[in-house]
Assembly symmetry: C2
Homo-oligomer: 483 residues x 2
């Protein structure tokens, strides 16, 4: 049983009044595709669109049969939350409050204010939405009492405990896809809220993270925030008469998907357009317009690089393909404005006839991104903090120019890929400018060797192995219960 805020499909209605089924390509959905293909899965998710709510109503809120992209069938249960509650849950608590907290993004002298609005959004938004998920999960457990439950991410921290209260014997895991900050930073929330979040997660049998770093942070913060007893060697937390196994498994991608996409006619057409426009060197970034992604500093670092290397003017472009993200939230729309402003400043300063240093494209266009993946000479992945970062795994796999990965030390994928990348500190403009230059002037054999090693790793640690590792954890945990 998979429980996540965003589901594998979303429903819409065509202008002709026909129901449309949109099978999402988002990270988690792709990730769990192989689970759906090989197991009997019930998926519980929020009804997000108007049409989702109609579908949920038609099934009286119960699960119904759906079909995945590859034809495998699964059961889907859409939870139709109260619309205001869902707005508070999503647009006030989950993003920005928790997201900003978990990525160390708040500027604490001024933000956030934990005012009545936040307290209300917690009590009347985050809590009831989690209650809705818990009730749906318990209802499904009635039907399949021996199912394992997989909760996902920061939208659902309270649900596991609510389920546990009613189903003490359920086997549950929770995978956290974002960074786990250290305990001081959890003080952005008042004590009773940060305790509830930790207690909620510890109601699971297993809690998983992408990296050893976030896992270590979670083990320590359970000790600091709750006074829990922690066995660091085994990764076990004891609290409230229960114990929880804490693991780390970096998520992978599906190499076959990218092997196919690479030669997709639509991708080839986008690639032709990029090749037509590109100068000698292409520095690429592909991100959501999220403050954690550090786009503004990336542009500043690029300007700094141009400043010191006039010999490369006209010969290099930074292509920034940015998916506009969460624009209902002021912190996000302000960041998008800052991105546009900074690109303009850099272009105004350096551009000349026939050469624009930064090519900024704000759109959600995955096929175009894959085309750009094939063409980069340097890929800049410089997040301030990032749970994992899939771009750093996807892009090398299809790259055809022995492109070099420039990777933030605070991206989760750095634990795996750091040894073949040029490591940068995300705040260090000087270091990033140096890395761009180093990438573009690196000897061909070295570039090729780094890229090949990266791809070999990404192919070996694929999505299927990530799913397998989670299922092994479940077996390991169940076995330890028997012993």
């Amino acid at each position: 049983m998979v429980v996540s805020n965003r589901g594998p499909v979303s429903y819409a209605r065509s202008p002709e009044g026909e129901r449309l089924v949109r099978r999402g390509g988002g990270g988690l959905v792709t990730a769990l595709r192989s689970l759906v293909a090989h197991h009997d899965v019930t998926w519980i998710a929020s009804a997000m669109s108007e049409e989702d709510r109609l579908v949920a109503e038609e099934h009286a809120g119960e699960a119904f049969e759906e079909t995945a992209r590859d034809g495998s069938s699964y059961r889907l249960r859409l939870v139709a939350h109260d619309p205001s509650a869902y707005d508070w849950h999503y647009n006030v608590v989950a993003n920005p409050t928790l997201w900003f907290l978990q990525h160390y993004l708040w500027g604490l002298p001024y933000t956030p204010d934990l005012d009545l609005g936040l307290h209300n959004a917690w009590s009347n938004g985050y809590l009831p939405v989690n209650e809705g998920f818990a009730a749906a999960t318990v209802a499904e457990l009635e039907l399949e009492p021996h199912a394992s439950v997989f909760f996902h991410d920061y939208h659902l921290y309270l649900a596991p405990r609510l389920v546990r209260e009613q189903r003490p014997d359920a086997l549950t895991t929770h995978f956290v896809h974002v960074p786990w900050p250290q305990s001081d930073y959890w003080h952005v929330l008042p004590e009773h809220l940060r305790r509830k979040i930790h207690q909620g997660l510890l109601a699971n049998d297993i809690v998983g993270f992408h990296t050893r770093r976030w896992r270590r942070n979670f083990l320590r913060s359970c000790e600091d925030v709750l006074g829990a007893e922690v066995d660091y060697a085994r990764g076990v937390v004891r609290h409230g008469g229960r114990h929880t196994l804490v693991t780390s498994h970096p998520i992978g991608i599906d190499p076959l998907e990218f092997d196919e996409l690479k030669d997709d006619p639509r991708v080839l057409e986008y690639e032709r357009l990029i090749v037509e426009r590109r100068p000698e060197f292409l520095v690429l970034r592909v991100d959501r317009t999220d403050p954690s992604k550090n786009v503004v500093r990336g542009f500043r670092a690029f300007a700094f690089f141009l400043d010191v290397h006039p010999e490369l003017h006209g010969r290099v472009t930074m292509l920034a393909l940015l998916d506009p993200s969460r624009q209902d939230i002021p912190e996000y729309s302000e960041y998008l404005a800052a991105i546009q402003r900074e690109a303009r400043i850099v272009n105004d300063r350096f551009q000349r006839e026939g050469w624009q240093p930064i090519d900024l494209q704000i759109a959600d266009n995955f096929l175009q991104s894959v085309a750009a993946y094939k063409q980069y000479d340097a890929l800049l992945v410089n997040p301030i903090f990032d749970g994992l970062n899939l771009v750093s795994k996807e892009a090398p796999l299809v790259n055809g120019r022995d492109g070099v990965l420039i990777l933030s030390e605070n991206a989760g994928s750095h634990e795996e890929l750091g040894r073949w990348a040029l490591t940068v500190n995300p705040l260090d403009l000087y270091g990033q400018a140096q890395a761009i230059h180093a990438a573009l002037t690196m000897p061909a054999e070295e570039r090729r060797a780094r890229l090949e090693a990266t791809c070999a790793h990404v192919r070996a640690r694929d999505l299927a192995s990530w799913i397998a590792a989670q299922l092994e954890d479940l077996d390991r945990f169940s076995a330890s219960l028997v012993v």
Copy 2:
């Protein structure tokens, strides 16, 4: 031997051309007064004023005899740094970079940029100033080879290692008066800088903090940043063939000083003025205008409290006595402006004939602060993070109204005083508004009991006991060397 950026005296010149000696009342200077009184002390500090530089020159940069306020004599050595180097050290690296880092104050999506300016300020400011301190320390150790060296605070992280290289057998301790953030937040600096800071401190035999919390953070960050071997139970870090004892001793105050100040005629005059103006209830805050002190949110919380308690309009004033701080640094002047703006917003909204809700006074006036200490009904100490916070110890000692302390969970003094205070989360406006109301409506006996317990603690854990604890640490460390 005491080594600190700010010395116990500063020299100036009167309009008549006469040399003036200003004996400072700052935290560290007061703290070390009893050390000077009972031991043969040489103090090494920066020549900060023009006249300081002249005095240093007159003594050819060597130590000379000075007299403390109580008449005890000591030796003073002023280090005259290159003025640009000192500006970069103080106004770029120490404040704001390290200060903001150590108090979790950066808004990472936008600040800081580690640009050429910062890299230059480190190499040509922070490093040479530390080299200057190290050279002076080594020179004094030539004269007194068996002296123990006490380094202080975040201005001098590199000096201990430089001294150690030349004097492997010197006995050195370093007391850090600010919070020690957790390892993720040290990633605000590139790896080589955060390593140098940790290595610098670990060149000491002992490193001291005000709280168990900052001590724990330091032990862990030595493990995370340097891969050092840490014995958490004993508080010992092994790194680079050496071992360092890490301790925590909260600094105290001198009760006698406040017993005397309480009846000082100048204080009584200020008190008379306060009594004349005060309404029924006085909520007090006394701070530097530092973003870590959280003044803006304090005003917002007070407005929120007024919002919910119209029955107290006209009956309560928040008196904010704020010492303008580090106004050469843009982050600080912007914060002072934000303080003034917020006070204006609150006053414009609530004030009426004969009542101003917030009485904001921007001045450095310690005697007026002591007068206000005597008069508060509630003392708001709500820092975002604070190494210790002396106001929370000084004010209760002279308070004559059974005033209630409202204390941030992130103030270092919360480890000692939290049990008798009303604890608040510094970002939680709602919680702070509730605490103000709870303080003003608390039964008299409870207020008295809390205040008496606080004062008993502050008297028992005084400044002399803090100094004694440091000297015991030295004995303990030396003994362990013999064993």
